[in-house]
Symmetry: C3
Subunit: 342 residues, 3 copies
């Protein structure tokens, strides 16, 4: 791929020799001759100058002796070129005879069913989908087309997966929600979890994350949601379009996220909490109250992030503050007890 | 099932036409004609009125044109009826020839050993138990009767599982505890973890949860304990009867929980902490101190929940409070430095 | 093994009858006649007196009627003897015909490849390594010698594992890092994750822990690092030699840990954070700032642990403190508004 082709691929304009051959895409610090890199902000100009890269993707033309591609989003363009230089390796299509496939399973065109995969009765797998070794799919699941299911994933019976979905290793979709009620003897009686999980198109779910089936109805992960590793999504949650759940986030039952919500690492939501569109919770925060659309919150229990940032600077000074208050009290006492001038 | 049969099944009394046919059990909001629902509290009367349900389970007879079943615990009765309308599907009994079963394995009656299951030498599996695909059971394990082990669960060698236990997908029982001591060169020398895990009857463990084997002795999960997904139970812990561990809880080594303890989501316990019977820790709290029986705690480090609820309302006002104290100081200074009246 | 042999094995000196036969190693509370135990501190002398142990490992000779082994680190010596009394059981070498092994896979001497293992094309496994059932190894991985991979572990393509490494059940190494950039329509566009994971010698990783591959370059776990269960290590992190990550710790992208760092349970690090050599973060703490070498921190956001310990004692008294400030204000008002003496 040369500079001109690269520019065309990312919808940008090139400056310099269009026939310049590009051999790879690298970060500014790692790029060498022949590589293209990108610069997200002008503050990286010194790094760019020091970089061995032959070409750079920028948002606006800059002064440099390197070849340039000018495009609205350099990060996006760089991601696209990375995909060209590192095309995804896909397991070859075909059904391995060592897979255990139940009756009435329907497989689309060019599906890969690896060795040591188990597929339950009546499940449907769409065209071009790939099931890696160790994947276990329960009965009556629907899996769309162009889906990649990495090793040792478990889909419980009745799970519905859309198209272009990626499930990373160890993901569990559709396990029973955590619902009990006390019986007459003070033991936990299980509330049957008879709902299911529906995952829409273009969702990606990280390793060892768990999405529980609904008690009744549906746990719903909507289009374009991206979930990191080791996240817990409890029964009956709804995750709005293009939301982001970073690693180790935990949602209790029946939470509702709007679209483009961001929950940073280790955030926790109590049950039945609603998070408005485009709201953000910062890392390790938690809320048992609803958050309004566009809200940016931090802390546990969470407050507006700007408030949190201010009060946490006072926390280390609390012992000093308490002492000051005791001192003020003593000084005030002294004044109050003064013998008034006679 | 008609109304009279349903009432008998849950040990309640029916009001209305006993021959009314029930076609399903649904929540108040989702129920339609033919369905039975339940009402846990009188505040839901308007929802009930708006509901399409033909029948309702209540704690005390109410005024309604719907058929009723009156019973002490409506939630429990509803859970029981859900089980009738959604009977659990069980994998057919039998041993799949693609399972890898070691020597001297003893299988009870009507056991299901699915394809792609591995069972180590000398393990015993009780009657009616079900091992889903991808389950790996180490050597010398004892698994009781009516146990369900979902896909891709791992039991390390020597694990003991009681009766009527459910292990969800990806659970790991009996991995080595996290125990090291420094050697002469400042490297971590592994303390051999030579104990095991014992899980008593009627325990349910959520997806991808880990229960480590004891260093010496036993990590013990007692009868009726319910554990949610992604929970960590370290070596040598004891979890008392009917305790509840919500998702992403983490217990360090040698913790002891009494009976009916509740640890809400993302709670953390330091090592050797004892939690008294029926104590509750609220979500995201943590403690390195023991908690007395019946205690209700929140925060990290945890304090009585009522105390926590009060102090967290002051936190956002801390910057203002600190400013007020500075103001008071200045005002007091002014008074102290005043020229006394001559 | 007798007392003399035990003393020689741990590099210590024995006091008493060297021919005393030892039948096991137990903790002070559990030891019976014939057992050896250890005493880490003199405060345990009463426990030792009450113990049934026939011998004890101590740091300095004590007065006791039990046989003794005197050695610099009693805990280390005890761990070594535990290993003698409980030798690790290793699965028998050999390749099970039910394993699915790709083309051009190279297996060293005495390797164990269990049933239901899948190994991708071109992978190399070193001498004496053991792959338990359900392990899935992607294409082009390098696995060293004396490596133990427990059941249901997944290694993505291109992962490099050193020698004497232990991976516990359900571990996922090399899943894609969590990297997206917004496209023109506000959807998350995946940044191809084209780096890999390198794990050095003598690393042990706990059950269901996830180590993501680098976006570009390497996620690097250096020699002797020990990681507990359910830990998240994001793309491009570097974990320095002999560091300890306790259960449920989460590292965002590109964090750098020095050597001998300790992150206690449920700690969270924001992206690009650097933690200096031998620094310690206490349980449930979190930082988005770098921590200096040797620093000991607590809280979220973290501060020096001693500071944290002090301010958290004030937290429960905050409502009282706020009230006191209001009282002071009122009292001061009264003085300020006093009619000056005429």
């Amino acid at each position: 791929m040369n500079l001109e082709q690269a520019a065309r691929h990312v919808g940008g304009e090139y400056k310099g020799d269009g026939s310049l051959e590009l051999s790879g895409a690298r970060s500014i610090g790692e790029a060498e001759a022949g590589h293209i890199t990108f610069m997200a902000h002008k503050k990286y100009l010194p790094s760019l100058k020091a970089s061995g890269a032959s070409a750079v993707i920028v948002g606006q033309e800059i002064e440099t002796d390197k070849a340039q591609i000018v495009v609205r989003s350099p990060a996006l363009a760089f991601a696209r070129l990375l995909g060209v230089f590192h095309p995804e390796k896909r397991l070859a299509p075909g059904v391995d005879p060592r897979a255990a496939i139940g009756p009435n399973v329907t497989l689309g065109n060019n599906v890969t069913v690896s060795a040591l995969v188990s597929i339950g009765e009546g499940t449907v797998v769409g065209d071009e989908s790939v099931l890696h070794p160790g994947v276990v799919v329960g009965e009556g699941c629907q899996i769309g087309h162009h889906v990649t299911i990495h090793p040792n994933v478990t889909l419980y019976a009745g799970t519905v997966i859309g198209n272009h979905v990626v499930l990373h290793a160890g993901v569990v979709v559709g396990a029973d929600g955590f619902g009990y009620t006390l019986d007459e003897k003070g033991r936990h009686y299980k509330v049957p979890q008879v709902g299911r999980v529906v995952i829409d198109d273009h969702v990606e779910i990280g390793a060892n994350t768990c999405i529980d089936r609904a008690a009744l109805g549906v746990t719903h992960v909507k289009e374009g949601v991206k979930i990191d590793n080791l996240v817990q999504v409890a029964h009956n949650c709804t995750l709005g379009e293009h939301s982001i759940l970073v690693a180790q986030v935990g949602l209790a039952g029946s939470c509702k996220l709007g679209h483009h919500v961001v929950l940073a690492g280790q955030v926790g939501l109590a049950d039945h909490v609603t998070i408005g569109d485009q709201a953000i919770l910062s890392a390790q925060s938690g809320t048992f109250r609803d958050i309004e659309a566009g809200g940016v919150y931090g802390g546990s229990p969470s407050v507006p992030l700007s408030t949190w940032k201010k009060y946490v600077t006072v926390l280390p000074k609390l012992p000093e503050l308490a002492k000051k208050v005791r001192d003020l009290d003593a000084r005030l006492n002294a004044i109050e007890n003064e013998t008034p001038p006679s």
